[in-house]
């Protein structure tokens, strides 16, 4: 621009505009914040639910209870472990009947320690073998291999049908992805309408600028800067509000779901900061440019 109008002037103009249009600026920030928080809270909830589902689904253990813990039975079991690539052979563990008894008594608490002496010669606990799998989708097939070995009394897999569980997880992931996309679209719609309203409120100003010979770029720059400033203010507010909401509401709710470790807020923070800043800048630029075209075209 053939112009002495420096960037500091544009910046101070933008701040001045925000001050003069306090009400609308505040409303815009609140709408930004609301959209950010709804979308982020939902995404956080979904990510945690996915994690919970993963934790349950990845409980990839088969336990074999041995009626006969002879060398032969163990050899047969070890042979399968060594040759099957779906089994995580480094994490399989043989637990003798004696160890099993000790583990049980230990779990009951110190006051029951005398039970060991009582039962060690007449142990009701069978020897067991914990088999870890690399891929839970083959659980049933592998369980069958072990069931066919003489001396293996019982093969215990998870109570839930694993294939159904994988399906549920896929459905949840897909649904949540769509819901997040819909929320983002709704947010874009609401925010761009808010910006449209702020620009409509200032159409006289834009009109006057046009008639005193302001170039389109000169008119747009303060609005773009203003949009970015409002977006960034909203990002900061939304970030801290989200933190509070996550720590108090979401974590509280999730912690009621039995044995499950939800993500820390810190897990989301870096991605949130990056996405919020990108969203603020994009809304600032495009949110201001698109609705303004109508008024510039005179």
């Amino acid at each position: 621009m053939r112009n002495n109008y420096g960037s500091s002037n544009f910046l101070s103009d933008a701040f001045e505009n925000i001050r003069l249009n306090k009400l609308l600026s505040t409303a815009t920030v609140f709408i930004f914040v609301a959209c950010f928080i709804v979308t982020t809270s939902f995404s956080m909830l979904i990510l945690n639910i996915n994690r919970l589902v993963d934790e349950i689904a990845n409980n990839n253990e088969i336990v074999l209870f041995l009626d006969d813990d002879s060398e032969e039975t163990l050899d047969n079991i070890n042979e399968i472990i060594a040759s099957n690539s779906f089994i995580d052979r480094n994490n399989c563990q043989y637990i003798t009947a004696d160890e099993g008894l000790k583990n049980l008594i230990e779990a009951l608490g110190p006051e029951y320690s005398q039970l060991y002496d009582e039962f060690k010669n007449d142990n009701p606990i069978r020897a067991s073998y914990e088999i870890k799998l690399n891929d839970i989708s083959y659980t049933d097939d592998i369980a069958l291999l072990f069931r066919n070995i003489d001396g293996v009394g019982e093969v215990r897999t998870q109570q839930i049908r694993i294939d159904e569980f994988i399906n549920i997880k896929n459905v949840i992931s897909l649904l949540s992805l769509w819901l997040i996309i819909i929320l983002i679209i709704v947010s874009i719609f609401i925010i761009s309408n808010t910006i449209k309203m702020t620009i409509y409120a200032r159409k006289t100003e834009i009109n006057i600028m046009k008639f005193v010979g302001a170039t389109d770029a000169f008119i747009r720059i303060p609005y773009i800067i203003e949009g970015i400033i409002l977006g960034l203010i909203a990002s900061v507010v939304a970030f801290f509000a989200q933190w509070l909401i996550y720590e108090t509401l979401i974590l509280n709710g999730l912690s009621k779901l039995a044995v499950f470790t939800p993500y820390d807020f810190a897990y989301f923070a870096p991605a949130m900061i990056i996405l919020y800043v990108i969203a603020a800048v994009l809304f600032g630029v495009f949110g201001s440019l698109l609705p303004m075209r109508k008024y510039l075209n005179v």
């Binding site: 112009n3 002495n4 003069l20 006289t204 100003e205 600028m209 008639f211 005193v212 010979g213 000169f218």
Partner: protein, 228 residues
């Protein structure tokens, strides 16, 4: 020099607003454009401001053919015009000083130039004492004088005033028109005034272009009634 050659304007709605317009306005000339509502006066002004473009014919101002202007050149062209509207179009949240300064800021004038020039302009329209007031603290006549100071801010070659006295007290209309006539005479600025006010036109005894049904029905020196 402003020249209209066989200008015709038909809106996309099919309304033929102007046709067969041939006009020459010399530098420094003062011209009243009169006519009934809907006669085409506003369209004529819009064509001059490049807000609308002729369907055929051409408009040449100081050698610039307006139809050849690219969209990005229009703002630069408009800086040669000073425009005064019936509804003043002042920014309500800026002071009188800032309203005038605004026109200069928009065209990239330095703060130093602005500080020097705005007081002079306000003096000229006798509003130096109102510099710190806001538009809602002024009378209609005062607001129009601020608009006039703003129109002069960028040293225009042409001032276009669209019903400049339409919204102000009749007793003050004469004052505004005298200011415009004075500006034209002293600054060798072309002034084009669109108005309804017969008495005023008669009093000033300037060139009158009478537009009727979309074309120039009469064009000569003298009063409103002569033109009709």
């Amino acid at each position: 020099m402003i020249e209209f050659c066989n200008v015709e304007k038909q809106y996309s709605t099919g309304v033929l607003a102007l046709y067969d317009i041939n006009l020459k306005i010399k530098d420094g000339e003062f011209v009243f454009i009169v006519g009934a509502s809907g006669a085409g006066k506003s369209t004529l002004i819009k064509l001059l401001m490049c807000e609308e473009h002729p369907t055929s014919g051409k408009i040449v101002i100081d050698g610039i053919d307006l139809s050849q202007l690219r969209h990005k050149d229009i703002p630069i062209y408009r800086r040669q015009l000073g425009i005064v509207f019936q509804d003043f179009r002042l920014l309500p949240n800026k002071t009188v000083f800032e309203n005038v300064a605004f026109a200069m800021r928009v065209t990239g004038k330095s703060n130093k130039e602005i500080r020097q020039k705005v007081p002079k302009l306000l003096n000229m329209v006798d509003l130096a004492h109102r510099a710190k007031n806001y538009p809602n603290q002024l009378s209609g006549g005062e607001m129009q004088r601020v608009a006039l100071a703003r129109a002069l801010a960028n040293n225009p070659k042409v001032i276009i005033a669209d019903e400049p006295t339409g919204n102000i007290d009749p007793s003050l209309s004469h004052e505004i028109m005298s200011l415009l006539a004075g500006i034209s005479k002293r600054g060798n600025i072309t002034v084009i005034v669109v108005t309804h006010e017969k008495e005023l036109v008669d009093k000033f005894n300037k060139r009158v272009v009478y537009i009727s049904d979309g074309t120039v029905a009469a064009d000569h020196e003298g009063g409103y009634s002569d033109a009709q």
